[in-house]
Amino acid sequence: MKRAWISSIIAGTLLLQGFLVLPTPIRRSILTPVVGYERAGYLNPPLTFPFLDYPLYTNTHETGEPIPQLRLIGIRADGFEEQLSAEGLGMTPWHFNFLIRAAVRSDVTEVRDCLDAIDSPSADALVGLRVEDEPVLWGDGPVRRGPVVTVETLSLREP
């Protein structure tokens, strides 16, 4: 009985972690007949935490491909603009990235919720945000910054 119980723990662990080794499209194609297409897309890490797949630094790149370096510019009511940082806003880099991603999507509601959450005077004074990209250029000479490009601008004023 004990052996059977532990065997099921071993088999379950191996099955779950082994399944996560498979590439995502293959996992989805296996799961779809069982749980349906929608759920198959949903039943992925991190939902299965602590069982995870490990797609770390997986994308392939070529020499010279610009590396996006997004930055967030805060706009105050008096027109004053300043570059925002995770430290300045009292956020972790990950939550700051969340804010940038929301701004890139022009998701004003999410941006507002995020700024409200951090309870920072400098965040409260913001009436707008601008996402800029100052890509890192490399491959044909020293590593350097490229020209600044505006990615997105959004107003935080109440409609």
Binding site: I6, S7, F49, T58, T60, H95, E110, W138
Partner: protein, 450 residues
């Protein structure tokens, strides 16, 4: 049918074979110890864990994206956890972790610690991007909760041994390295296989399965790209320096990473290969941390699953048992039996020999007179290989050198005044021991004499 039976037998042979319990307990101590460090909050970014939990709990609902068990909990209608219960679980987890580490009520403590650790980590990753560093450690803790942990290197094992020796009214030396268990192998083997699967997953996701060259990831430029990116994100000068190495060097490094991740499974199949893969893994993760700040340090603790603790212990004993000092003890005194049991329990490298005073003649000393026996009953005596004698506090100091767990206190035993204070304390304990320990009547030579 016969094929199924053969498969079942092979399965049982692999997972369920008598294995040294000490190998399992070394993994227990490494995994629990490291998770306790993480729970303390040694993370370079988050700071102390309670403060991190408080900050996390204060985040607005829209950051809450439950994962793992919290996803199931929320699907069942469970509300978002609040700080109070989370801190209560944190405290309970800490207590259970300390118990699991020292091995006191090891199995229930291990179960509570594993469950609590998963809940705590799942809680804070439900509010932010998740990371991979803890996941294998958490799975290992969950597996250990089902394993026969604590049969060695634990307070539980010591208490069991004391019960046995006191019950038998004699000191029986016990070798922790000799303890085997039918269920001690499976968690160790399974963690090895999980390591292989984790590294395989990291390798497979780097393969270009959509065409255009399966191994294009190892072109050198890809590594250069990621290094430059992280040099900016983490302000890492090491990453920037690394990114400027010639492209062929970066390509070789990329191939090295792919080869390491893609072939690590061989160490799970043939554990002797771990002598290459474990140092390679340590170097690999140190390099990643230096350049990209990815702190996969829990893996260092989990590499303990490749450590043949019993074999190493026996090999070490073979090299260092030649000059064992003798400890003379009264075989008819319960206090002495208890002291010898504890001493021998701590004597991992078998560096002390235990000789009952009743033995005649005594090794190294030959026949001794009544006056010597009386002195030996008054305080512990240690006889070194050259025949030199050390008694009382001096004997304790000699023995401390032989016990790895006592090494941290050895320097304090040599501080100015330590001899005076130590000798005084020893005499006090020796003189008053009747007050807290009762020997079994006339059997105790010391008490009979008095």
């Amino acid at each position: 049918m016969a094929g199924l039976r053969r498969a079942r037998d092979a399965w049982n042979r692999y997972w369920f074979r008598p294995a040294p319990a000490i190998d399992l307990d070394v993994l227990r101590i490494a995994a629990v110890g490291f998770q306790l460090i993480l729970l303390w909050g040694a993370d370079w970014w988050w700071g102390p864990m309670p403060a991190h939990l408080a900050r996390t709990a204060a985040l607005p609902d829209f950051f809450y994206n439950p994962i793992g068990v919290l996803f199931v909990y929320s699907e069942l209608g469970g509300p978002r956890p609040t700080l109070g219960p989370v801190l209560a679980i944190y405290g309970l987890t800490w207590v259970a972790g300390v118990l699991a580490l020292i091995g006191w009520f090891t199995r229930p403590a291990m179960a509570v610690f594993a469950a609590g650790s998963v809940l705590i980590v799942t809680f804070y990753y439900s509010f932010t991007d998740f990371h991979h560093v803890e996941s294998l450690l958490l799975i290992t803790l969950l597996l250990l909760a089902w394993a026969p942990v604590g049969r060695t290197l634990s307070v539980d094992a010591l208490r069991a041994r004391l019960r046995h020796n006191i019950g038998e009214r004699r000191f029986e030396p016990w070798d922790q390295a000799g303890v085997t268990d039918l269920y001690a192998a499976w968690p160790v083997h399974l963690v090895r296989v999980l390591f292989a699967l984790v590294y395989l997953s990291a390798c497979v996701t780097k393969l270009n399965l959509d065409g255009g060259g399966l191994f294009r990831w190892a072109n050198g430029s890809t590594l250069q790209y990621w290094m430059i990116q992280d040099s900016y994100f983490f302000s890492s000068q090491v990453a920037l320096w690394f990114s400027q190495l010639p492209l062929p060097v970066l390509a070789v490094a990329s191939w090295g990473a792919l080869a390491f991740e893609g072939t690590f499974w061989t160490a799970a199949v043939w554990p002797r290969l771990a002598t290459f893969y474990v140092p390679a893994g340590v170097a690999f993760h140190l390099g990643i941390f230096a350049t990209q700040r990815a702190a996969f340090f829990p893996y260092y603790a989990l590499y303990a699953c490749f450590l043949p603790a019993r074999r190493l212990l026996l090999a070490a004993r073979e090299r260092i048992t030649a000059d064992r000092p003798l400890v003379l003890y009264d075989a008819a005194c319960l206090l002495c039996l208890r002291s010898m049991t504890i001493l021998q329990f701590l004597d991992w490298f078998d560096r002390i020999a235990y000789v009952p005073l009743q033995q005649d003649p005594l090794p190294r000393l030959g026949r001794v007179d009544a006056a010597f026996r009386h002195r030996a009953l008054e305080q512990m005596h240690v006889v070194e290989r050259d025949g030199s004698l050390h008694a009382g506090f001096a004997a304790c100091r000699r023995l401390a050198w032989r016990l790895p767990l006592a090494w941290p206190i050895v320097p304090f035993l040599y501080l100015p005044g330590a001899t005076m204070i130590g000798s005084f304390a020893y005499r006090r304990v020796a003189e008053t021991r009747e007050r807290f320990e009762t020997c079994d009547g006339d059997a105790c030579m010391l008490h009979r004499r008095r």
